[in-house]
């Protein structure tokens, strides 16, 4: 399967990738482009309208055209705001459609009295608006939007050509108008494509390096895991087994002891199995806070182990935020709460186990050791497995076709609360890059701040209970 298909050395960036999505922190730096463009477009529209007032037949329409273009600019600034990231396709379409409406109204306001196509403010304004999409949208989308706009603008110019003041071939006017849109469009698309490819290339290399570094640490890591496990096993088990082995016989006391040791060891192991990466992370932060001489109180509430459903990017983003919170100046170590709940089924492991072994509340139950295998009636399990496979295939199709059906999705809501003795401004400044990363991998990121408490709330959508991927694909 995975071995049979050689992967290309440079995998292509996904078609939906944009600079903002791939490099959210870098995307922060691009956002001032939007207000700058908005100011240029607005002032040009006003100046051009005023200076050509003698050509305007319907002043109301001309004013409305300018107003609508200003609205388009406002939408651009609003859409590009880092705290409202990501810049979605619908926002881009709204901006372009508003621009087009402004263009048509401006053309109508000077109908039959337009002196020169090249003085129209709308084509150039539209071109600049599309140029401002470059850091936020994928290049194909920019190209499609720009070319469509250019066609409309070209047609308007052709329609106006019989009434223009100059005698020239009609196509010439269309070309002049279209170039004002097409040149910035192509520039924006080229920028977006080049930046996305560069970032993607770097990410591919970086991931490969991370994999290599991880593999390098496999040996020591394995050793530490083994040591840790053997330590956890307690000092009693090995000597006990060795004693029994040596004596080659069992006493009633041995049997009793074996039973109690079995319960103990199992309890420890079950607790370990329920440990998630989030527990690990918080443990580590707690340790480093303690080392800094603080007395941390960090709470994780993830009763359904939903954290296990997060993918690597989401884990990294959450980890980066939590580490940043803990190391931030003025962080109050007594208040850090991470809470995960949500709708839809919890990730695979848990739901299967709950299905198979009954409610979690019953755990750990040191009862008689009778059997290790679960009961699930034949039909049930088989149907479950089939349904899972089908649903997984369905989810893949769904994700490709982009149509969303809420019923098939599980939504995890993560809430992180922390307290700081920082001013809201400083706090926002320090956390801005991390929030931009969160926004790139989670949906509906909300930040509420009630001094000194800061609450981050965001959602993760899971297609369906995820199975760990086959090794070959890692």
């Amino acid at each position: 399967m995975t071995r049979a298909t050689p992967t290309p050395r440079r995998p292509r960036a996904p078609a939906t990738a944009s600079q903002q999505r791939l490099d959210p922190i870098g995307g922060l730096a691009a956002w001032p482009l939007a207000p700058v463009v908005a100011v240029i477009v607005t002032s040009y529209a006003v100046v051009a309208t005023v200076s050509r007032s003698h050509e305007i037949q319907i002043p109301a329409l001309a004013t409305e055209a300018v107003v609508i273009l200003v609205i388009a600019c406002a939408v651009l600034i609003w859409s590009a705001r880092p705290d409202l990231a990501p810049f979605t396709r619908s926002r881009a379409v709204v901006i372009v459609v508003l621009g087009l409406i402004a263009h048509l109204m401006a053309a109508a306001s000077t109908w039959q009295h337009n002196g020169l196509i090249q003085d129209d403010f709308a084509p150039m304004g539209l071109g600049l608006l599309i140029l401002a999409l470059a850091p936020f949208r994928p290049w194909k989308e920019i190209l499609v939007l720009g070319v469509s706009v250019a066609i409309v603008v070209g047609c308007t110019a052709l329609a106006q050509s019989p009434f223009l003041g100059r005698q020239a071939p009609a196509a010439l006017f269309a070309i002049v108008a279209m170039t004002q849109v097409l040149a910035p469009t192509l520039a924006a698309a080229a920028y977006s494509r080049q930046v996305v490819n560069s970032i993607h290339r770097w990410q591919t290399d970086a991931r490969r390096q991370i994999r290599a570094r991880t593999e390098e640490s496999r040996g020591p890591l394995a050793q530490s895991v083994v040591d840790h496990r053997l330590t956890n096993l307690g000092a009693d088990v090995l000597p006990f087994l060795a004693d029994v082995h040596e004596a080659d016989s069992l006493t009633a006391a041995d049997i009793k002891r074996a039973r109690s040791l079995a319960f103990q060891v199992r309890r420890v192991l079950v607790a370990q199995v329920d440990h998630t990466w989030l527990d690990d992370l918080i443990d580590r932060e707690r340790l480093s806070l303690t080392q800094r001489g603080l007395n941390p109180l960090c709470v994780i509430a993830d009763p359904e182990r939903r954290a296990t459903g997060f993918d690597a990017d989401q884990r990294a983003a959450v980890a980066a935020v939590i580490v940043a919170l803990c190391t931030l100046e003025g962080f109050d170590p007594t208040i850090l709460v991470v809470h995960i709940d949500g709708s839809g089924p919890a990730p695979t492991d848990t739901d299967q186990i709950t299905q198979a072994f009954g409610a979690r509340g019953a755990r750990p139950t040191p009862a008689t050791d009778t059997t290790t295998i679960a009961i699930v009636t034949a039909a049930q399990e088989h149907a479950d497995a089939q349904a899972r496979a089908q649903a997984q295939a369905f989810a893949q199709v769904q994700s490709q076709t982009k149509s969303r059906q809420r019923d098939d999705r599980a939504v995890d809501t993560i809430t992180i609360q922390a307290a700081f003795s920082l001013s809201p401004f400083q706090r926002r400044r320090a956390l801005r890059p991390y929030l931009s990363v969160l926004r790139a991998v989670f949906t509906r990121v909300r930040v509420t701040s009630r001094n000194p408490l800061l609450t981050l709330e965001f959602e993760a959508e899971r297609g369906l209970p995820t199975h760990p991927r086959p090794r070959g694909k890692r």
Binding site: I25, I175, Q194, W202, A222, A262, A312
Partner: protein
Amino acid sequence: MSLGLPGHLVQLTLARALARAAHWFALTCLMSAAVSVGILSIYRSPELWIGIVIVVTMATLLILFTRHRRIAFAIAYLLVGVVGVYVFTATVLGVPDAFPSSNMYLVALPKMALVMVGGAGTTALSGVLWSTAAFLLAESAALLAILGTTVPYRPDLFTLSTYLVLVGVMVLAGIDRRMSNAAQPAVHRAVQDGANRQLRDALDTRAIALLNDTTVTQLVALSLAEPGALSPGLRASLNYTLTTLHNTNWLTDIDARSASRRRPVGSSETDATSETDATSEISAPTGTGVTTQTNAPTQTNAPTQTEAPTETGVATPTDDHDWMSSAVYTAVERCRDRGLVVDVIGDRAALARLDADSDRDVGLAVQQCLVNVILHAGTSSAEVDIESDEATVSVLIVDAGRGFTESESASDRLGLRQSVRRRIEQLGGSVVIWSRPGAGASVRLTVPAAPAAASVAALAAASANPNRAARNPRTNVRTTRTTPRRTR
């Protein structure tokens, strides 16, 4: 995707992207100029062809520069462009009664294209310098040309605004306004930590599964035993547990195994060596030996002994080697040593399609299932049926024991959860369990396996023994069975 560009790559990346954007802007302007002048020369004045030549030359130089990024091409583009702007402006504005003033968009097109040369600068400063030089030269050339025509001069705001926007963007991109300098490395570190944690979790999963297989199972077995001397089976398993726990290489012995597997299949001596390698790490020194199938130690193994020669008889040497070097074989052997009668049927050679990791984990999962049969099923026999298709290999472990009830199983979820289900799911496989009280249990482990290369050998082996399937009627019955059956 949270791995953003690190600081040292930002400038270069942005500069490249801006260069791309500038070149496309310039090319669009030049193309548009060429088409416009073409249209004009057809309808108005044929002598305008010179304008097309100039524009096409500029475009060619621009493309060369984009492709090769040599400074010489940039200089050539600039110089040819300046001359071109002069000639273009003079010829276009020279068309009688066509243009009211000099500030026509058409006339500005080659100038805007020329200004875009600045986008090629690798730093913001050099870019601004190139652009400024191009802008000044182009405007002077155009002014000279306009003075030679009858058209009144008007300042060209198109080129000026293009120049200002370009310079603005370059300056904007050039200032490193990343106050978030610390954030990018922090995210990078978080990704690396995540990868480490994932590996650690995988190792831990395996370690916990192994501990459960060995320690917990052993303690449970001891707690269920009768006081007095240890039974041979119990002694053997105790021995195995102690050997495993003292062997600190639990998690790294895969490498040893895959190395042994890669050895060529040659003489029987080689086979024996590799088999010993494969099992020595974890096998218990049972005295009777675990490497051969026929000398299983206890008397309950009688049916196995009668069946074993038939099984090995039909298999080709490769088939046999594949089967005997698989971890499932080791697991089966170990449980046979403990007194369980295990029938192995189905496509045993298919196990060779598993890689070292999968092989080992499937073997351990099978072992856990068989150990469960020994400990809990109250029966002395089990069946292991190996099935395969294009992309997967399945192992079905069937026993006719007492089955399970929910209240019993709730007490002990670790064995199945960790030793069987997690292990298999970590391989990307699935586990299906059928069981009802009093009606035995079936566990099917399905894992993805390599399709082509390895299975070709298996297919060849199968076709070499066309009567193999017929000889074992149970195989056919079982592979066609899709619904669970527990009638025994």
